[in-house]
């Protein structure tokens, strides 16, 4: 569970293996717990990979879904205010790129939730996971 200010976001993966097999199904759900009075404009869910390291960064979104809350649809906002509401997601993982823990570059997979409140800055929460079982790199001392 993560919280910034009073808004809390929980990401739950249905299964939690040490690593996911490429081509397998990843499913889960997320829950938003804004404090009373907080209104949300939209929530975006991305299943993506990105690189971390010394050089230029790269990233790609494999799966994306957006949940928009219209200002007029008071029912949606009221539901969020009063009780936890879970939003499911599901996607078939690709074959590549596999998670990799290198020295110069690392490849990370994650489920990222981006919340856009009506007021204030957006909130981003990530749930990392591993795709494939590539062993981490070892540094060669010359």
């Amino acid at each position: 569970m993560n919280g910034i200010g009073e808004t809390q976001i929980v990401i739950v993966l249905d299964e939690q293996p040490n690593w996911y097999v490429p081509g397998s199904r990843l499913s889960g759900r997320y829950c938003l717990r804004p404090s009373a009075g907080d209104a949300l404009r939209a929530v975006e869910l991305s299943l993506l990979w990105y690189t971390v390291g010394q050089g230029e960064e790269d990233m790609n979104v494999h799966h994306f879904q957006r949940q928009a809350f219209e200002e007029s649809s008071g029912v949606e906002l009221a539901l969020i205010d009063n009780a936890d509401r879970w939003y499911p997601f599901e996607s078939v993982l690709p074959n590549t790129p596999l998670s990799y823990d290198g020295v110069i570059v690392k490849i990370r997979w994650c489920v990222r939730i981006r919340v856009f409140p009506v007021r204030g800055r957006e909130i981003v929460v990530e749930q990392p996971f591993r795709l494939g079982n590539v062993p981490p790199a070892a540094m060669v001392v010359t």
């Binding site: 990401i11 993966l13 249905d14 299964e15 010394q54 020295v103 749930q127 981490p136």
Partner: protein
């Protein structure tokens, strides 16, 4: 159903991710460390005093690009200083995007944001795009000097820079020294005739623009940065490492942080194998 402990994953990711990686160091990723008595508001005020044309001088890796990022961000967001100016009736309120409008009284819509055109030179790029003048004209529009002042300038040779004006746009050039002597002069002239502002970074004073600030790489700043980056992770870089690297690379933050990245990786892998 297994509830995933997001906080635990975050800790693991933080520990796996090198604190000196690009994503943690890119301009805007963290707060900028200003020198004593400096702030974004003060520098913007000084930029205004200098006629919206100035240069940020400093050696390679001293934080010029990071400072530009902070200033551009401050220009396009609602700063306390801007709000204060708003109360004085000099500046427009931020629009829906949070951008600050131009000064009222120049005959324009006060809620228009100040457009910023930004170019980064270096890494093989040694000239501005060929259509930069057209683009600047598009965003700046016809921001002409008010007629009475045009007369004053023409008759009395009054310096144009002293005429009361506000830029219609701000051109930001990171790596101004990459341009040749003639190209620099052409750029300044092009910006001046379009009544836009110009903010550049360069390694040495060009002598063509007033200096907004001179950047000096300092050990204390570097150590504070290292401490901030390592906060929440397993600290693998000690004070001695920073001192040695600072001396070896003569204060070049880029080179120092590259070295610390590799040192951090080496120690992380060693600790994993132990």
């Amino acid at each position: 159903m297994t509830i995933t402990d997001t906080a635990r994953h975050d800790r693991e990711t933080l520990d796996l991710d090198n604190p000196f990686s690009t994503r943690r160091l890119r301009p805007g990723a963290g707060p900028f460390h200003f020198g004593p008595g400096q702030s974004a508001e003060r520098l913007l005020r000084r930029l205004e005093v200098l006629g919206w044309r100035a240069e940020i001088v400093g050696p390679h890796g001293s934080g010029k690009s990071a400072l530009v990022e902070v200033l551009v961000e401050a220009l396009t967001r609602s700063l306390p200083a801007n709000r204060q100016r708003l109360q004085k009736g000099r500046c427009a309120a931020p629009n829906e995007s949070g951008q600050v409008g131009r000064i009222a009284g120049d005959g324009r819509s006060v809620n228009e944001p100040l457009p910023v055109m930004r170019f980064g030179l270096g890494r093989g790029i040694r000239q501005l795009p060929s259509d930069w003048v057209r683009k600047l004209t598009e965003v700046a529009g016809r921001n002409r000097v008010p007629r009475p002042w045009r007369e004053v300038v023409r008759r009395w040779q009054y310096p144009l820079a002293r005429a009361p004006w506000k830029p219609a746009a701000l051109l930001v050039i990171d790596g101004f020294e990459q341009l040749g002597w003639l190209a620099r002069r052409r750029t300044i002239r092009g910006v001046r005739t379009r009544r836009a502002g110009l903010l550049v970074t360069c390694h040495r004073p060009t002598g063509l623009l007033p200096c907004l600030v001179t950047m000096h790489p300092e050990w204390e700043t570097l150590w504070q940065l290292v401490c901030r980056l390592q906060a929440g992770t397993t600290a693998r870089i000690e004070q001695d490492d920073v001192t040695g690297s600072f001396v070896r690379h003569a204060g070049n933050f880029h080179e120092i942080l590259c070295e610390l990245y590799l040192l951090h990786e080496r120690r992380r892998i060693s600790s994993r194998m132990d």
